[in-house]
């Protein structure tokens, strides 16, 4: 009666717990920040944690569950969402064998709701310092957060991902500043613009420019069908 592929279906009581946890990042006050929620119940009651939750029978998919969590905990809809990886072992949750599917989400600060979903009081934004955040996090969330930061920083080097941290319309100097903040180094203006032009994912917002007490800058938006594109070289 052997079943080479998977073995028999495990009894319900032997099934591990399965959750999703989301690292939501935004740029506020010139720093990268993550949304954390304070846990009300044990385990780790009182500790800050990544917004997350158990997979429920009415979720349509893992990504759907991540979107549900994002909407419940932060009132945030349809940001950039990418799967980071899964973390699971017998010990990470005292309630039993537990696995979590971690996601990274990016959102422009102008798209944040004034009130963060239904649990606004328990949620707040924390600046990222290095690869972590000031408070001690619940479970293995510090490790997950560090991996999320690492993923984002790595992708900044060779993709257009940072556009998701900007409003719908932005200037090229805006975009360059975001790259520079995330990479923590200065970029050459002409080389930067050449890369952006090469991958051809932006279109000018005709007639609109951002005025200040200097030469106004052209406004751009991402082309309608845009997905994150990769540069031939690093930025």
């Amino acid at each position: 009666m052997k079943q080479p592929q998977t073995g028999p279906v495990p009894a319900p009581a032997e099934r591990p717990l399965l959750t999703v946890d989301v690292t939501i990042l935004t740029l506020r006050d010139d720093s990268l920040q993550a949304l954390l929620v304070r846990r009300a119940e044990p385990p780790h009651a009182g500790r800050w944690a990544l917004p997350g939750g158990f997979i429920r029978p009415d979720d349509i998919s893992l990504e759907g569950a991540a979107r549900r969590v994002l909407l419940d905990k932060a009132g945030i809809e349809t940001p950039y969402l990418e799967q980071l990886g899964s973390y699971g072992d017998a010990k990470r949750d005292p309630r039993g064998w537990s696995a979590t599917v971690a996601y990274v989400a990016l959102i422009a600060s102008d798209r944040l709701e004034p009130r963060h979903g239904r649990n606004a009081d328990a949620a707040s934004w924390w600046p990222i310092v290095g690869t972590s955040v000031a408070p001690t996090l619940a479970f293995d969330h510090a490790r997950i957060l560090a991996a999320a930061i690492g993923r984002v920083r790595a992708k900044v080097e060779y993709t257009t991902l940072p556009v998701h941290l900007l409003p719908a319309k932005f200037t090229l100097p805006d975009l360059q500043r975001v790259y520079e903040q995330l990479l923590d180094r200065k970029l050459d203006k002409s080389a930067f613009r050449k890369r952006i032009a090469e991958v051809d994912f932006l279109e000018p917002v005709e007639g609109e420019r951002r005025a200040a007490s200097n030469r106004p800058a052209q406004l751009w938006r991402v082309k309608p069908d845009h997905r994150t594109v990769f540069f031939d070289r690093t930025i």
Copy 2:
């Protein structure tokens, strides 16, 4: 009684099924091949599938479960193993809400056991054509396999990952041939050697050379503490 972080622990019967599935790749007969097992039991009885299995209470971690599956199904121990991603939704398995954590494994063909573990008769190697394999696979395994191939091909461009498809000792022309096979294009010899030298992850096996009816080539091995390294540029 609200629990902002995760909600109440779901009743055992509401917990999704959780599996690991592994795409094991090797280079045999000058082609990239994946190990598949034939399913004996429903669902999808008779179909070929990625080796996989349910997470069991005695597994120590997700990666541990992937290693167990690899050992059970293919008699393969400690190859290169990397998490690919997770796939889960309400419909992918008729038995209920199901998620799988997918892994990619690479192994040198000289490390394959003559008999593939305990279910040798039900397991066999299939050449990769494009991004898939000849038989129709069970569940969503075709999609997972395609993602695994894509991941490996992408990483070949900018990492030392292909060393894991070679025996412990190999020559630089051997290594270049592996890169060329995976990338499906010719590489420049001097540029290739420059990249390899830059990242400095190989050491010569002193005194040993591979003889043929021509100039013998230096044998190399990866340095003891080696992990996959990234090139500054593409290979």
